[in-house]
């Protein structure tokens, strides 16, 4: 109860701090919208040449593009999660200050990242998707259920994304400068989430594999839920898949965190 309340205060604070950067938000919206147009034209060319590519028709493919642009900031696929700050704190040694507070480090940063994602979903997601829907025929649902499932799926996707990036950040306890690992994980994220091309386009064993990796939780799964490609029991399975990855990766983060803190506490970092 105490932890939940504290997490809420941290999340609300994080939401508000991201909300203070209005110009950055506007710039981000413009970028996402511009990229949405470029990708939408590319996908139109692709799909007119090869209709039903990856099992999507053109309105679905275009919706995929704009969902991707709407989620790009919220899932921090290309970096920019709340834990970036933690990375700086580890490098400067400020993390010592965080350790003497009576709060769990992972829970603290998870709450901060959820607050950030909530702001970026609203601040940077809604406008690009609306613009896309006005400019192109998108296959978006008109009933509330798929939207609700979509929001649940996005939330789980944000948690999976955080859990992955938290593992990456913890490596800076050993590497001191984690920016190389972060850049690499960003590249992996862009490709394996489906941001570059929907993962359903990849055939064979490779396609099977990439759809089972955690990154698919961050775009492919939420998009399929909203496009109603996965509905009913299949949608439930999709959410379960995300939840499993979230738990597994958060668990791994806890283990690594324990080792990292022990290292700091014994060796002074």
């Amino acid at each position: 109860m105490h932890a939940a309340r504290l997490a809420l205060v941290v999340a609300v604070g994080s939401f508000r701090r991201y909300a203070t950067y209005r110009v950055a938000t506007v710039a981000g919206v413009v970028t996402n919208t511009a990229f949405g147009f470029i990708l939408a034209f590319t996908f139109t060319a692709l799909w007119s040449e090869r209709p039903r590519l990856g099992g999507y028709d053109l309105p679905q493919a275009l919706a995929f593009v704009w969902i991707g642009q709407a989620l790009l900031a919220a899932t921090a696929l290309m970096g920019g999660g709340a834990e970036n700050e933690l990375q700086g704190r580890i490098r400067s040694g400020d993390v010592a200050v965080d350790l003497y507070r009576p709060a769990d480090l992972q829970l603290w940063w998870l709450a901060a990242d959820l607050g950030r994602a909530a702001f970026q979903l609203l601040g940077r997601g809604v406008v690009p998707l609306a613009v896309g829907a006005l400019a192109f025929p998108l296959a978006l649902p008109t009933t509330p259920l798929p939207w609700l499932l979509f929001l649940t799926s996005v939330t789980l996707g944000v948690v999976v994304g955080f859990a992955l990036r938290y593992l990456v950040v913890l490596t800076s306890f050993w590497l001191l400068d984690g920016s190389g690992v972060s850049a690499m994980s960003g590249l992996l994220g862009v490709f394996f989430s489906g941001m570059l091309l929907p993962l359903t386009l990849f055939p064979g064993a490779f396609g099977e594999t990439v759809r089972l990796l955690p990154w698919s939780s961050m775009l492919q799964v939420p998009a399929d839920v909203l496009l109603e490609v996965r509905q009913g029991p299949d949608a439930a399975r999709a959410l379960g898949f995300q939840a499993l990855w979230a738990l597994a990766l958060l668990g791994a983060g806890r283990l690594l965190q324990r080792v990292a803190i022990r290292r700091v506490v014994v060796q002074g970092g």
Binding site: G13, R16, R17, V97, Y100, V265, Q267, G268
Partner: protein, 327 residues
């Protein structure tokens, strides 16, 4: 009652150093090398020493974020490394060069977070915040994002944040570093007030001896991980064999003044500097000079605590134990 107890406290770091292309040698650095002392409830103690002496390492062990390699340590009866979270509610910590405040948000939001973090009852929180705001002049700053605060304002904000949960001990690591004279005075005044009003025990490290002179009745000097002095400021003067300095202006340049009881230091034209023990009277020295030299003017400089401490540090470096190592 003893609030902080250190008994033979040690911290040894293992440092790897590359020797040659592939070989690496390990060697030990004894950052804290057997410190024993106790601090009573309500004391204000200055903890000083040159850079790298082991001050911050000690503070980190006292907060529980660093595990000692040897010796015994208790703060309010708690072993800090074992029960870091339980101890957290009873101590307040301010690292001068690090902030616990939320960078992009108004000060007020950080305080609301502290309240949740330490589960401070509403009424208590309000009373404490009101008192801090009044004494530290924070009222105009509560709605300002922390990143827009000046260093002095931020420091005051951090100190208030460390006190909202009524800690019994307040550790301050260089609380006045980089502050201007007015901000320093405010911070010092506030710390005196908190100590007198609530009996909060204060342990502060500093390089600013003004902090020590104005706040602390007790000074611990640490060098190379060892306690080289523990006692009052006057004891420090005695230990450091302080000298007062007589600045003599003569009517014309002369040979170095030689009178019993004083030591010639240097000369600059008609002005000469002479040193004599702080405990001795200046009168006989003065009389001797006036009788034998063309005296125009003179002044006496009181012993400088900085020099005393500088001498303690250099003695430590030469390998000799400090003159009054009680630890």
């Amino acid at each position: 009652m003893e609030l902080i107890e250190l008994d033979g406290l040690e911290k040894v770091f293992t440092v790897r150093r590359s020797a040659g292309r592939l070989r690496r040698t390990r060697h030990e650095v004894r950052a804290v090398d057997g410190i024993s002392c106790t601090v009573r409830r309500g004391e204000m103690v200055g903890y000083i020493g040159p850079n790298g002496a082991g001050k911050s390492t000690t503070i980190k062990m006292l907060t529980g974020i660093l595990t000692p390699s040897g010796g015994r340590l208790r703060v309010a009866g708690i072993d800090p490394a074992r029960e870091r979270t339980r101890l957290a509610g009873r101590i307040g910590v301010v690292f001068g060069q690090r902030t616990t405040l939320w960078w992009d948000l108004p000060l007020r939001d950080s305080y609301a977070l502290v309240r949740r973090l330490y589960r401070v009852p509403e009424a208590r929180y309000r009373a404490n915040l009101e008192r801090c705001v009044e004494l530290l002049d924070l009222a105009p700053l509560l709605h300002v994002p922390v990143r827009q605060l000046s260093l002095g304002q931020r420091m005051r904000g951090d100190i208030a944040a460390a006190l909202l949960h009524d800690p019994e001990v307040l550790y301050l690591d260089e609380p006045t570093i980089g502050l201007d004279v007015v901000s320093k005075a405010k911070v010092r005044g506030f710390l005196r007030e908190v100590n007198a009003e609530r009996g909060t025990t204060v342990l502060l490290t500093t390089h600013d001896l003004g902090d020590i002179e104005q706040l602390c009745d007790r000074v611990m000097v640490i060098d190379h991980g060892r306690l080289v002095h523990d006692g009052g400021l006057d004891a420090l003067h005695a230990a450091g064999e302080s000298e007062r300095v007589l600045v003599v202006d003569l009517e014309r340049p002369t040979a170095p003044i030689a009178v019993p009881g004083a030591r010639f230091v240097r000369a600059d034209g008609p002005r000469q500097w002479l040193a004599f023990p702080a405990a001795a009277s200046a009168a006989p020295v003065l009389a001797a000079i006036a009788a034998r030299y063309p005296l125009a003017d003179l002044s006496v400089r009181e012993p400088d605590i900085e020099q005393v401490i500088a001498r303690l540090y250099t003695e430590g470096r030469d390998g000799g134990a400090g003159p009054s190592g009680r630890g």
